[in-house]
Symmetry: C2
Subunit: 102 residues, 2 copies
């Protein structure tokens, strides 16, 4: 069941919106990274590096995004890869269109 208010809230935090943009564009950064590059998504520590955030802060925001259904998690060994759930975004957009007769 789609909750447009919850999805709006997830998108309403600037750093979370930036993380979403990072996920859609895939991570590409030079130098050593904690997890091996993957086409499966972007890992926690890559997000830390990209935005200079500490680990618990990244973890918190990824949980918010995941619980809103905007991001899916894929554990791989000790890492976790995140990717966009575009279906939720599509449903959200559709719902706004219906609710507000766009």
């Amino acid at each position: 069941m789609l909750e447009p208010v919850k999805i709006s809230k997830a998108l309403s935090e600037p750093i979370r919106y930036k993380i979403m943009l990072l996920l859609v564009n895939q991570y590409s950064r030079e130098g050593p990274q904690c997890c091996s590059s993957s086409t499966e998504g972007v890992c926690n520590c890559e997000i830390m590096a990209e935005f200079g955030m500490i680990q618990s802060r990244v973890s918190y925001h990824m949980k918010e995004l995941t619980e809103a259904g905007l991001v899916t998690e894929k554990p791989f060994g000790k890492w976790k890869y995140y990717s966009l759930n575009t279906e939720t975004l599509k449903d959200y957009v559709t719902r706004l269109g219906m609710d507000f007769k766009l």
Copy 2:
């Protein structure tokens, strides 16, 4: 210039989302109202009546919605009529589609 984070925040508050729904469906309620019924929109005091909110609270939320560009205000005498700005919503939806490649 469209600010998707700001629009998301405006939509992320439950009572604001309900007010938006009220605006799109137009107000229709029995009994005495403070302002005369209008096709131009819904007035502050009608929103107070609909949700049992005090005046300053309604005023605060209408300001949030207006500043996000989601609602337009139309002063009429001592009243003010609010209506949805569907253009902003359409632009928001378009922007999400582009940002996240939907």
